[in-house]
């Protein structure tokens, strides 16, 4: 187990090398003035800004992270729960799923003003925004995963007249695991965006920082905020990966047998 995480970490070094390469090219492009630095600041410039304003950036990042954790956590729980509901009651699926799609396609930016009216300034709105954008991928993926449960195994379970709960927890959720994890990974990225867009309007966190910097043409600060938000997303994906590896402990959830 530990070994696997190690291998995985080592694998990641490749990404660092690629990152270094990318940053060098970027730095060079800006140094050559092929792109004006008021549009695209150089990596070193971004780095200096980040160091200089670290206390504020750190506080903003933590606040955003907090909102994301709540929003994403809620959408994992309710996404899986809703998928189970829809799976168990096809009537509910047919009746409600289109509205989930509907909800999903409302640009958060155009309903964030409504959210802020309902939830007020600050974190609740931001959490709601992160939740709304990250719900559907988990819901859709879990639902597909549940529907793809091997019918042969379902037949086997049926022999023992399982309760719906047993069927769900012992068969359907385990089979849907690869789907659910992919859904969560997609949602992690979206939750970050949702939180930041929410903060554009409801204030607080990195969103507010980016928004203020944007109008002040502090492109370096905008990028600093953007980088921090991406770091949050990568960290989230990393945590999801590690947690899932520990939880699954080398079990062959792929249908190998």
């Amino acid at each position: 187990m530990n070994n696997r995480i190690k291998t995985w970490l080592v694998d990641k070094y490749l990404a660092w090398i690629f990152l270094a390469l990318l940053l060098s090219v970027w730095e060079w492009v800006v140094a050559q003035q092929w792109v004006a630095s008021y549009l695209l600041p150089s990596p070193t410039q971004i780095f200096h800004t980040t160091v200089e304003l670290w206390p504020e950036i750190q506080a903003a990042t933590l606040s955003t992270a907090h909102s994301i954790a709540w929003g994403l956590g809620l959408s994992i729980v309710s996404g899986v729960a809703l998928a189970l509901l829809f799976f168990a009651i096809p009537l509910a699926r047919r009746a409600i799923l289109p509205f989930c799609i509907f909800f999903q396609t409302v640009p958060i930016i155009s309903i964030a003003p409504l959210l802020v009216i309902w939830f007020g300034f600050g974190q609740p709105t931001v959490q709601a925004s992160a939740f709304i954008v990250s719900l559907f991928p988990i819901l859709a993926n879990t639902l597909t995963g549940l529907q793809e449960t091997d019918p042969h195994l379902k037949e086997l379970f049926r022999l023992y007249r399982p309760s719906p709960w047993q069927l769900i927890f012992k068969l359907q959720i385990p089979s849907a695991i690869p789907y659910i994890l992919t859904g969560i990974k997609i949602s992690a990225g979206l939750a970050v965006i949702g939180a930041i867009v929410g903060e554009f309007i409801a204030g607080g966190g990195l969103g507010s920082l980016i928004d203020a910097a944007r109008t002040q043409q502090r492109v370096d600060l905008v990028f600093s905020g953007v980088v921090m938000s991406s770091v949050l997303a990568l960290l989230l994906v990393f945590i999801i990966e590690v947690v899932s590896r520990v939880l699954l402990r080398g079990r062959p959830y792929l249908r190998k047998s």
């Binding site: 195994l153 086997l156 023992y160 047993q166």
Partner: protein, 259 residues
């Protein structure tokens, strides 16, 4: 009253398709074991699934004595193990689902796996087992619930002859020790004769050709060497041949075994 009562049973998989089973009627008395014999694709699995309630008949009816129906068990033609559960966890699955996970049941699971020669494989995943081992795990899983009747679909096909003989004897032992009744699908005439009090010979036209009670006093592997046993096997072989000739199967170079 009979344990199983099948009445004018019919099954086709789609409206236009040929009937897999047609107008089939038979009864099985309590404590009588039944073997289903027939060529590949004749409908043995389908009949077994109908008995278990895994398929719905298109016509006719099936009645299983209520005291048996409550304690039925099934072994699929393929092992059908849950890939993310270890060998032992797979055997414990029915107990968990039935809410009967207690120390006694646990011991029984270990005992069964021991009897089936799987001691060293308790914590392996199905993907790490050989084909025959997987089938034995499936067998343990079917027996761990202490069923009154178990339906088995060619459970020993993947086993070598010696292991197979041991499993046959294990089944006979369970039958006498626990009053376990079974319906056993096989394509081996000798196996059917050895294990079945009655044999139902299915053919490809969807109906059962013939069946008769076999009354051997004692069954062990020595029985297979007796003339009486071989006589019965010969009779069934002949029936089998007649059936196939009647059907005029399109298989070239079919050399007949002389009975």
């Amino acid at each position: 009253m009979s344990a199983i009562d099948v009445n004018q049973l019919g099954k086709r998989f789609s409206a236009g398709a040929r009937a897999v089973i047609e107008d089939l009627s038979f009864q099985v008395s309590p404590d009588e074991t039944l073997c289903l014999l027939g060529p590949s694709g004749c409908g043995k699995t389908t009949l077994l699934r109908l008995l278990m309630g895994l398929e719905q008949p298109t016509s006719g009816s099936i009645r299983i004595a209520p005291e048996l129906a409550q304690h039925m068990s099934y072994v699929f033609q393929e092992p059908r193990l849950v890939p993310w559960r270890t060998c032992l966890e797979n055997v414990l699955l029915p107990l968990q689902l039935l809410g009967r996970k207690n120390p006694a049941a646990n011991t029984r699971a270990h005992d069964l796996l021991h009897q089936l020669g799987l001691d060293e494989r308790l914590h392996h995943f199905p993907g790490e087992l050989s084909g025959g081992m997987q089938m034995r795990v499936a067998l343990a899983r079917a027996l761990v619930t202490e069923p009154r009747i178990v339906l088995l679909d060619e459970p020993f096909a993947a086993l070598d002859e010696r292991t197979r003989f041991r499993m046959q004897d294990l089944l006979l032992e369970l039958k006498s020790r626990l009053q376990l009744q079974y319906v056993f699908v096989t394509h081996s005439i000798a196996e059917a004769v050895y294990l079945g009090d009655r044999i139902l010979l299915l053919d490809r036209t969807g109906s059962a050709r013939d069946w008769r009670a076999i009354d051997f006093q004692e069954r062990d592997q020595l029985l297979k060497l007796t003339p009486a046993f071989n006589a019965v096997v010969q009779v069934y072989s002949q029936l089998f041949s007649d059936m196939e000739r009647a059907e005029a199967l399109h298989v070239p170079r079919a050399t007949e075994v002389r009975a």
